[in-house]
């Protein structure tokens, strides 16, 4: 996502390679590069300047303190710290204290409000065990209400709508009353997209807010927005004084300068980031993790959390036993592929692993990479799938004919599978390395930690 920004920043740090310490001159050079990188990434010009001034000041102050650290690394650390600071320090949660808690969602046209509303409903329902109600207040755009209804069905959250009513304030109020009557503890109010200069529409959203007194007002912004992001964010803030910002479409290759600018300029934290069209692709925004992602240092914490979300402890225990007995078979493998698929786009996943983003940059890698493997396994008989040992030449030939791949490809896959199986078996025997037992134990621990947060 922040690929190009991190690339350019890397270029900036490279100017420090071979330098033995930070000096006025090399700091000035690399700071200039950093500023260009930020502006090229749609970071507001003014903010980029202030940001690099701060970095410069810090870099100069650090000059002789840490002699053992290379200047390039030191600079990365300074920029990292400043980025975290710029994006808001610590993760900010949303306020769900009301009965019901009311969340108002506002933003420009096409920023992704309705999709976000659906994702938020899913998130609250599945991760926080809430019982949300979606309220459809976009009475303008054709079929907007239908869209929310369909999304509601997808995430299995009821939607309150009034097809004939053209008064969003009324619909919102009735929606909240409906929630109270039906024991919903959170109400998510989806509103129409509006331009910040559209006086009438801005007055309307202010009226909605005044009428329903939301516990949390969220401003949704497309992460691909350019220099204008700051202006729009400010204009909305003046009218509805929102509590937090949601960044959408972060799964593209946007450099995400908007993310860096808004918190700084408006002083409101980014609370969620949304990537992808699947309903389970909403993440709580963590400034520290985002900073390390921008700097190309990966985001292993988010990766593990994402894996956990799809993780089924029962299944893992079963799998662990199988691996220990060296009984891992093709059925298990298929299941694993399914699990990875559920986690989302594989390239995106790989980019979260430190050092991977550079490797995957020009790689045409996506989830269809598994298609061949699946085709091969699907061409096996149930017995073959359960007993990989059965393979022989004529079976392989039949599988090759069945799946439309050459026998070499089938052979290559079987060989890989065999190696993987041996490796897993070995690992499961090593103390502290068991992928089954320890992983699930670790997951349980992490889960309980998350609950406390």
């Amino acid at each position: 996502m922040f690929d190009s920004l991190s690339e350019r920043l890397e270029g900036a740090f490279k100017t420090l390679k071979g330098e033995s310490k930070l000096t006025d001159i090399n700091i000035a050079q690399s700071v200039k590069e950093i500023r260009r990188a930020l502006v090229g990434a749609d970071v507001n010009y003014k903010i980029a300047k202030e940001f690099t001034d701060k970095v410069k000041e810090k870099a100069l102050g650090q000059d002789n303190v840490l002699k053992s650290v290379k200047p390039g690394q030191l600079m990365i650390k300074i920029v990292n710290d400043e980025l975290v600071e710029l994006m808001g320090g610590t993760a900010a949660d949303i306020n769900l204290k009301g009965k019901p808690a009311v969340v108002l969602v506002a933003g420009l046209q096409g920023s992704g409000k309705t999709t976000f509303s659906g994702k938020l409903a899913y998130h609250l329902k599945n991760e926080r065990k809430k019982s949300p109600l979606l309220v459809a207040c976009d009475v303008y755009r054709p079929a907007a209400i239908d869209q929310l209804s369909v999304i509601g069905e997808q995430v299995k959250v009821p939607v309150y709508k009034e097809a004939e009513n053209k008064n969003p304030v009324e619909i919102a109020l009735k929606g909240i009353a409906h929630a109270q009557a039906h024991n919903h503890d959170v109400v998510i109010v989806d509103t129409a997209g509006r331009l910040s200069i559209d006086e009438e529409m801005m007055a309307e959203i202010a009226n909605i807010k005044a009428a329903i007194q939301p516990n949390e007002t969220l401003f949704v912004v497309d992460s691909m927005t350019g220099q204008d992001a700051v202006n729009t964010a400010e204009a909305f803030n003046e009218r509805i004084d929102y509590d937090g910002v949601v960044l959408t479409k972060l799964d593209g290759d946007t450099r995400g300068g908007a993310a860096l600018s808004i918190k700084y300029q408006v002083g409101k934290p980014i609370k969620f980031v949304s990537m992808g069209e699947k309903m389970n692709t909403l993440d709580v925004f963590h400034p520290d993790r985002m900073a390390s992602r921008i700097l190309g240092m990966g985001d292993i914490v988010s990766f593990v959390e994402m894996a956990e979300r799809q993780f089924d402890e029962e299944q893992a225990k079963k799998l662990e036993k199988k691996i220990k007995k060296n009984k891992f078979d093709f059925n298990d493998f298929l299941e694993q592929i399914g699990q990875i698929r559920k986690m989302g786009d594989i390239k995106h996943l790989m980019n979260m692993i430190p050092g991977m983003s550079k490797m995957t940059k020009n790689l045409d890698i996506d989830n269809s990479a598994f298609n061949k493997v699946e085709a091969i396994i699907f061409s096996m008989t149930p017995q073959e799938r359960a007993n990989p040992e059965l393979m022989n030449m004529s079976r392989k030939q039949r599988i090759a004919d069945g799946c439309g791949h050459s026998i070499h490809e089938v052979n290559a896959f079987l060989k890989q599978f065999d190696q993987m199986r041996k490796m897993m078996h070995k690992m499961s025997k090593m103390p502290g390395m068991g992928m089954g037992g320890n992983a699930s134990g670790g997951a349980a621990k992490r889960k309980s930690r998350r609950r406390r947060r």
């Binding site: 046209q109 079929a143 989830n367």
Partner: protein, 318 residues
């Protein structure tokens, strides 16, 4: 100005001016501020100009290009007053835009030799594809053409309904196979519908997709191929819709969509916001693909053909 008046009725110009008011204000206001109290164009003024262009989303490369041109001019003319800067900047931008040799449309016309004209509309999520189709269909309908809309966005919730409502507003044909059907099949059959029903124009809507999603971009290529199978030479136009509020990512979008579908025209939407029309300058400069349409308001008639000269004039008018 005669050139300008020829292509732009007064009313249209008002829309454009109004739509761009915010862009203009910031662009023009900043420029005035930058030169306040100065008599000659010096490095400081040029630096300030650079900031203005960048904050208007013109883009780094194009900004550098413009600055270099003005620098060259300053060097040549020795003395350049700030009062002339306005004129010169306008000149340079118009020249820059003229370099890619694309001619502007005069009106919503289509080659009469083609029947039906097939237009495939593509873009990332939320840029305003469906709305642009509605407005475009309205313009063709106004000119007595028979239009069919094809609902090949079978993915996003209620997208088919949204297009259907637009077709009812415009009063044109509508072809759909419902949600979650094969978009390539819908596209194919929309063209068939146009052939069988004597339509002049077929406009095919597609699902919004981020240009980084390889599979979805492949799907788009497939939709285009199937349109070609339905009618040789089709689609006659692949229209990429870009959101004017998008920053530097617009360039990436243009690049990737062109790779997947050979985009032949651009539509720039949401120019009525605080959006910076600047991205239009950058894109005209960096791409051989012409901007054909601009969206300047939410009403059904708020779509215009893009005219470079008028656009730049509008940007500089006081």
């Amino acid at each position: 100005m005669s050139f300008f008046n020829k292509f732009f009725s007064k009313e249209k110009k008002e829309d454009l001016d109004k739509g761009l008011e915010k862009t203009k204000e910031s662009f023009f206001g900043k420029l005035t501020k930058a030169v306040a109290g100065k008599t000659t164009v010096d490095d400081e003024v040029l630096d300030e100009l650079e900031n203005i262009l960048i904050t208007s989303d013109v883009g780094l490369d194009t900004t550098v290009k413009i600055i270099e041109r003005i620098e060259a001019r300053v060097a040549r003319d020795k003395y350049l007053g700030t009062s002339e800067l306005n004129e010169i900047l306008r000149d340079e931008i118009v020249q820059l835009l003229a370099e890619n040799n694309t001619t502007d449309l005069e009106d919503f016309t289509l080659p009469a030799s083609l029947k039906p004209n097939v237009i495939l509309v593509v873009g990332v999520n939320g840029v305003g594809k469906t709305t642009t189709i509605g407005k475009l269909a309205y313009q063709y309908k106004q000119r007595g053409m028979k239009v069919v809309m094809g609902a090949a966005d079978t993915f996003r919730a209620a997208a088919v309904d949204q297009l259907k409502i637009w077709s009812e507003r415009v009063g044109c044909d509508f072809y759909s196979k419902g949600m979650n059907t094969d978009p390539a099949a819908v596209a194919y059959e929309t063209v068939q519908h146009a052939l069988n029903n004597n339509c002049d124009v077929a406009i095919i809507d597609t699902a919004g997709r981020l240009h980084t999603k390889i599979n979805l971009m492949k799907e788009l290529s497939k939709i285009k191929r199937s349109v070609g199978k339905s009618l040789e030479g089709a689609p006659h136009e692949v229209l990429l819709v870009l959101d004017a509020t998008t920053g530097q990512n617009a360039f990436e979008q243009a690049r990737h969509f062109t790779d997947a579908t050979e985009v032949s025209a651009l539509a720039l939407t949401k120019l009525d916001g605080t959006a910076k029309g600047g991205v239009a300058i950058g894109i005209s400069d960096q791409f051989k693909v012409p901007i054909k349409y601009i969206g300047v308001g939410e009403a059904i008639d708020k779509l215009q053909v893009f005219n470079k000269r008028a656009f730049v004039d509008s940007l500089f008018e006081q």
